[in-house]
Every structure is written in C-alpha cells, then in structure tokens.
Symmetry: C2
Subunit: 429 residues, 2 copies
C-alpha cells in the first residue's frame, strides 16, 4: 500500500458533511485498505467556524473554501454545501487545480451537469455524485455502469422522502394534506419551508439527472414537467382505493415508443397496490428501472439523512481515490445519444377524472362524446347519484397527455359538468 | 473515438451466450459509444458447432476454446460455460495471454475466487462477475463500489428463482412441495434434475461470493452452511401464516456482533409478511443489505434467464473494455479484513418448533425446562389439544444455533414428546 495519503477537502460540514468527516476518521484503516492508500481529511470549509465540531481537528477548519480548493495538494474535493453558488465556482476551481470532485448537489447537477462534466473532462478529473439522487441507494452507478450494456426504457421512482412520508400518512390514516405535512414537519421529515419538496422541485432535479444518465442524453431541470402534491386530497385517496391503487409522487423518465425522444416528469399519480412502488412506506425511496434485457429492477432504501447520504459520498470517494492512484478516471458524462426531450403533451399515460355533474339523463352520453372527439378511449366509468347531483368517475385508456388535457378543458365547458373534482394520472400498469 | 476494435471471445453460446452475442451485434453502435471504441465479437467457442446460431457469423465458431483464448489478440474473454472445468483453466489461460475476463460462473467463483483474482492481479487484468449473483440485479458492483466507504453488517436475500417460484406457489395455492416442483418443471423454472436449486447449492455459491465481497474476506462454498427446501410442507406454511409470516429460502451473510467473524448460510426461514423480502414473488430475486451508514437497502429484479444475465455480462463487458482503453483495472479482490467464517452453531437466530406431545398435565413444564436448561428463552407457546394428542408450537427468542439444536435434541429424548413435527428458523425481525 502507498503510504503517502490522498488529501480530501470537505466543503460543508452540516448533517452530511459532519457524518462524512466522522466516518473518514473512525474508519480510516478500512478506507485505506479499500483505496490502497491512506485517505486524509486535509481541510474543512465551513460558514460558522466557531461551532464546536466533535472529532474534527480545529486546525482543519477554514471559512475560505476557495483558498482550500486552490491549495494544489488536494486530491479530492467533497462538496456537500448544496445550492448553485458558491458550489459551482468551487467545483470548477477544484478541477482547475487538479482535484477530482464528489458532490451530493442535485440542484447544481440538474442545472449545470453538462458544463461541470466538461470541466472535469478538460482537466482529466472525476465528477461523481451518487449522493445527489436517492441518498444511499446505489442508483447512479448501477445505471451508468451495471446497465451500460443494456437499453433503459423507463426509470420511475419515489425520489423524495418528505412527500412520500406525507402521502403514506394520508393513505394509512386518512389525514388531509395539511395535517400530514404538520406531522412531517414536527418529526423533522419536512423543512420549515417545504416548497422544494412538496412542489416537486427536488424530485424534478433528480429526474433530470436520472433521465440524462439513463438515456445517454442531456436533460436539464427546465426540461422536466413538474406538478407538486399539495392538492392531493383525502378524497383522492378514497378514489384510489376504489381502484385498488394508492397515490405516490413519482419521477418518471421515459423513452418514447419510437425511441427518438425522451420525457421526464414529476407529478402525483395513482399506482396499483400490486406495484412494488406502492409498498414503499414512510420516508423511504425506491426506483423502478425497466431495461430491454435486464427486465424490471428495483432499488430501495433510505433516500435522505446524514448517514445514508454520507455512505453514498464515501463510496464515491473510494472510487475517485482509486482512480487517482491508478492515474485514470471513471466513466464521464455519456450524452452521445443526444435524444431531445419532448414536452409533457407527448407523454402517453392514463387519467383518472372525477366530475361533478347534473343528475339527469344524457349526461354520460355528452361526456363520452367529448372523450371520443378528443380521441381518448374510456376504460371504465362509475356514476354515483346523490340528491340531484351526481359524480362521474372516468378512467381512460392510454392517450397523449395533450389529448387528455384537451378533453378535460372541453369537459369544463359542458353545461352539465358543474366541476372537475380531481384529475390524476394512473401509472405503473 | 478509437477506431481499432476491442476483441471479445465468447466461451459458451447457450441461453446466456447467444443473448450476449445478439446484443453485441444489434447494439454495436451503442456499445461503441459507451466504451469509446468498437467492440467486436472475435470468436465463439461452442461444443456443438453444427447447431444453427442465428445472427452469428459461422466463421467465428470454434470448438477449440483453448486456442481461442490463446490467440493473443483477444482483449476480453466472456465465460458463460459454467461449471469448474474447463472454465477455470480457460480463464487462467486468458489472463496469461493478456485478456481480461467477464464470467457468470457462480460455482467457480465460490470455489476458486481467490486463486482467479490472484491470477487476474498477477497479469494486471480484470475479473468481473456481476452475472454470477442474482442475474441482472446490480449487486456485486453496488456492494464492492457504492458501499465501499460503508460497513456492511448483513446481506440477506432470495438468490434462487427456482426455489422462490416453488415456495411462492406453495404459499399462494396451498400446494405441497412435489406439486409445486412439478409445476415449476413444466413451466421451465426448474431443471430436470433440480438438486442444485432445491438443495440450496446454487444459493450457497452465491452466498459465498456475496459474503466475501461484503465483508472483505475470503468465504468459500465449503464455508456456507446449507439446508435445502425439499422438506418444507404445506403445514409449515400454515404455521407461518399463523405467525404473520411466509417461508423463503434465504441466503444470509452476517458479521458477528463482535465484528471479529462472519457467517454465511442458506436455509428455509420464516420471515414476517411486512418484510420487503416477503413480497418477492415468482422467480424474482431480491437482496436486502444492511450497512452502518446506508441503513437498509434492497435490490430487486429477475434473478436468472438469458436476457437478464446477458444484461449483467454486458455491463461488465463495457466496464472492462473501458478499463482496457484506459490501461487500468477496476477494483480487484478485497479480502484485507481476513475475517474467519464461524460455524453454524455460532449463528444467533430464532426458532419456530412444532412438537407432537402427549396431552397430559405437566408437558409444557417439562418442555419449558429443557429450553431453560439450554439457555434458550421462549418468546411464545401455543398449545392445541386434539383426541388425547396435542401439539405445542414454541417460538424462541434469539439464541445461538448450537443452543437451539441442543434444545431440540433434548426435546426428542423426552418421553412426553412424541415427535418434532418441524423446526424452522425465523429471520428478518
């Protein structure tokens, strides 16, 4: 084994960073054995240097992250700051000064992944980011290495633990959205401002990263259709149950049937209880992958949290350190397929639509005519009358999202339709 | 991109080999883009050269596998023959002649993995074998790379599709073992001689490979405790249901509580219906991994079959080709921890024991005394009387397998115990 240590600069020492530092210190011998050389924590950039950080040599602490990555003796920079800046500049500077980078930064990767990969390649360095998607679940590496000889057609998953906790709570207790969110906040599963989670921004960033890797193309956050889950109601769950389904916030990346384009989207959807994703409980994540030869695979585990994310970071750190010793690099960006991203209207899916309608003869015929005019075939209709009003639940066959949206708009204009109570896509069948 | 192709020799062209050849041919452009150079099928060694093999250039076919691996221009040898010889000699010869090796050979890896890894390292070549365990499910790579910075404590999984199909059938239909086996055979899930599957040899080989990788130690097939599932009865499933459990043939690799040794075993076991492994249906495989930082992960997918196994082989092929171009090698054997393998008696687990006993006062007291004398604590007892006979179902707390075996032996010697109807371990709680 080489005795000269590989030097690691840690940017950020919050929940994840402190756990990375802890494991690097307490498992130093194991890491050295796995890498083939000692791995040394050479500096830790933080915002609040006065905070007591157990187990970290105070002399390593600095507030000058830029100076740290410019030191020149750093082999690997571990970036767990999050956000776009200063993370982006620090990573670019790290490459320029000879370091490889391990990042857990989904927002940055989803927005500027191509530029960062290009910078890594220009300087002959590695950019690894297993921790950016689904925490400890090995997903990036299986997609880009294990399935490198296969053709991936769909990646569909629960990639946000906060929203899964809330939806699971609504499903199992009958609670409304606000009540479930309050509990998630009280238990620390949701942040004080839960927007990034509940509006699907976090999941959309992960969808962009997954789609890019799965389809060997460039997919940015802006390419991902996004709907949050704040309007999912207890009534929606009741409807889902009647269909033998539950509701999950899904990130879905698909190759079009003709293979010439891809789509990426995040929205709540009904999925059958028999689908493996339906039984993913609490804050767990799971991602379902469909490939030509491999068939259906699922990866399941904790999607967030300090320790699980640190596990993913350290796995990358070992790989990057090994590459450094071998004077090689791992697989970089693979975007050779250059498939364009189609808009949401091109997605082919199914709808579950609840309508409040007048309780009089001919309504169903009118409604059915609207579906037919838009080329959307109806799978099932359920009619329930009550006191002069009635509800109509329509489940469609597969059709383009554009046709389905057009159908819903036309339904809203019918005199006999008093309101569209809910619209939800149905997936996983 | 490099224009000179990397040359691949395929040893074996059965269900897996023919699918590897097919994908290499039909997806040649994708493979080239992912590798960074064309990948060319340069020779195919078979036993029956006269068989028509669609899509394979007949001039590539040879019966002389040894000459093929000795050619000197072969970059990667893909071994999908299976069995110990001639696979072992061919792989060793391949290394000696400058080729890296991708193998799907679980039996060989479980028996001679250390020697093969040493040969690969001596010649500076790669030995990859994702396809040897759980077909298309990425498992070897996540364990040895994604979790390289973590400490794995347990790997527990369903790694044989044939036996899972049979047990699932018994569970869902109430069929007996023979009836379920017959159906598995008729559907092609079980071979004419199902011994390797139903007696657990196949799963034991996979357990040896997984334990070695997970614990950075050498674990051979002989180190794995093995019990088949041919004696599991419909009555066992009925008992399991009463406990809220089902029965699976599990491969379990564990680090001892003191961290100083490991165990590896294959046997049928009851697991709670709430455990993710309980819902693995049909011929699917799934492996549950517990690590210090990552927490609980699960990997799920098709565990066998031509296409899924080919997917795993091709993922390895891409990695090995990339390493070859970069003039580097991937991670080799990691056995630095050198943890010894403890015997089955040291395993700590729980037992579910059904006893046929005399229906008279004092029997329970006698039985309970035997458990106490062996230091085994009882969790629950259920007594059922019928016509002068009675059955007693005892579920124990965790105790060493040696104590539990000793208890059972002593119970057999009690006058009031007419027979031990079944003994089954309880896992996953």
């Amino acid at each position: 084994m080489r005795t000269r240590p590989l030097k690691v600069a840690l940017l950020g020492c919050g929940v994840v960073g402190s756990e990375v530092a802890r494991i690097m210190t307490t498992h130093a011998e194991d890491l050295a054995a796995r890498v083939g050389a000692p791995v040394e924590l050479a500096g830790v950039a933080v915002r609040r240097p006065s905070k007591v950080r157990e187990g970290i040599d105070p002399s390593l602490i600095t507030t000058d992250a830029t100076a740290l990555v410019k030191r020149g003796d750093i082999d690997v920079v571990v970036e767990v700051i999050g956000g776009i800046e200063p993370a982006r500049s620090l990573i670019t500077t790290a490459f320029e000064h000879g370091a490889s980078v391990v990042s857990a930064n989904k927002a940055l990767l989803a927005q500027d992944g191509a530029a960062l990969h290009a910078a890594a390649e220009e300087h002959g360095r590695d950019l690894y980011y297993e921790a950016a998607v689904a925490g400890a679940i090995p997903l990036i590496r299986p997609l880009r290495e294990s399935l490198a000889g296969d053709k991936i057609n769909r990646v569909m998953g629960i990639v946000n633990g906060t929203t899964n906790f809330i939806l699971d709570k609504m499903d199992t207790t009958g609670a409304g959205y606000q009540e479930a969110l309050d509990e998630a906040t009280a238990l620390g599963y949701a942040e004080a401002d839960p927007t990034a989670d509940v509006e699907g921004f976090d999941a959309a960033a992960k969808a962009a990263i997954l789609a890019g890797i799965a389809f060997h193309s460039r997919v940015r956050l802006d390419d991902v259709y996004r709907e949050g889950m704040t309007e999912v109601t207890a009534a929606d769950f009741a409807s889902a149950k009647q269909m033998g389904c539950t509701i999950k916030l899904l990130a879905i990346c698909e190759r079009a049937a003709d293979g010439e384009s891809v789509t990426a989207r995040v929205h709540p959807a009904m999925i059958p209880l028999s689908h493996p994703l339906a039984s993913v409980r609490g804050a767990y994540n799971a991602v379902f992958v469909e490939a030509d030869a491999a068939g259906q695979l699922m990866f399941y585990g904790p999607g967030a949290g300090g320790s699980p994310t640190a596990s993913a970071v350290l796995g990358d750190l070992v790989a990057v350190c090994r590459n450094k010793l071998a004077e090689s690099t791992g697989p970089g960006e693979s975007a050779y397929a250059q498939l364009p991203v189609s808009p949401m209207g091109d997605v082919v899916t199914r709808y579950h639509i609840s309508l409040d309608v007048a309780d009089k003869p001919g309504v169903l015929a009118q409604v059915a005519t609207v579906f037919a005019e838009h080329g959307v075939s109806i799978d099932t209709v359920r009619q329930q009358g009550k006191d002069g009003e009635a509800s109509l639940v329509v489940v469609t066959h597969r059709a383009s999202d554009a046709s389905l949206s057009g159908t819903v708009e036309a339904l809203r204009n019918l005199d006999t339709v008093r309101g569209v109570a809910s619209i939800m896509r149905v997936e996983g069948e």
